[in-house]
Symmetry: C2
Subunit: 114 residues, 2 copies
DNA sequence: TGACCATATAATCAAACTCTTATATAATTC
DNA sequence: GAATTATATAAGAGTTTGATTATATGGTCA
């Protein structure tokens, strides 16, 4: 079955969302595995509200879903999203990104976070 | 040989550039074939300076090259760009984009422009 | 040379973006 | 219930974006 067509404007919105270093990194990390909000604040050395506002955008597009566990909220890519199938392809198109994500998350206290 | 690694920030910049409906369409059109500036103004029903400024951004990233012929300037993707290989992959990740581009350019007077 | 044409640049403005600090919310543990 | 913790929201400042109108540039053709 053919994939559902996507309006160019919608696709552009997705690119725009990913057109930010922090958000692109977040998406790439979640493309590997579920992440905790605190993983982001730590890996990016970014304030908690800043992370939260990036997440709000990702959420606003329906790109991510969340799961609560104890104190933490775990985030992952939302398989219900029309963009879900595109994301691994977009990430894979970036040469060497896996190494970048690995070294970025290596410095994270929860080293195995992503 | 492995492709040159790309910084996440650079990749994000590319996404950002493509995170605009007009520019994404332009890139998708040029991914098919060389285009004239006037193709864009016509296909997008957009003013000439607006198109020109989008082109300036694409040029600023080194994403496109140009060729002069008579009155017209022809634009195409620059194979010297480190992003060159990524573009077809990014475009291909958008479901149904070819149909969208086709119908967008069909209304263009120079119907075969892309 | 001079008129014409495609395209680029400048100046401007409103809207959107991204960060910061301060504060609110809501689940958890004692 | 009270203290604690992770996370979200609000408000505000500074920057960037993308359009518009007006003008400049530079090749082409007669």
């Amino acid at each position: 079955m053919e994939k559902t067509k996507m309006d160019i404007g919608e696709a552009a919105d997705l690119f725009k969302i990913m057109g930010d270093r922090s958000r692109l990194s977040m998406v790439a990390m979640m493309n590997r595995r579920e992440c905790c909000v605190c993983d982001f604040t730590e890996c990016f050395e970014m304030s908690q509200p800043a992370v939260s506002q990036h997440l709000k955008k990702l959420r606003g597009m329906g790109l991510i879903k969340e799961r609560r566990e104890g104190y933490w909220t775990y985030l992952s890519l939302n398989e219900e999203s029309p963009f879900y199938d595109m994301i691994p392809e977009l990430i894979a198109a970036i040469p060497g990104i896996e190494d970048h994500i690995s070294s970025m998350t290596a410095s994270c206290s929860r080293g195995d976070c992503c």
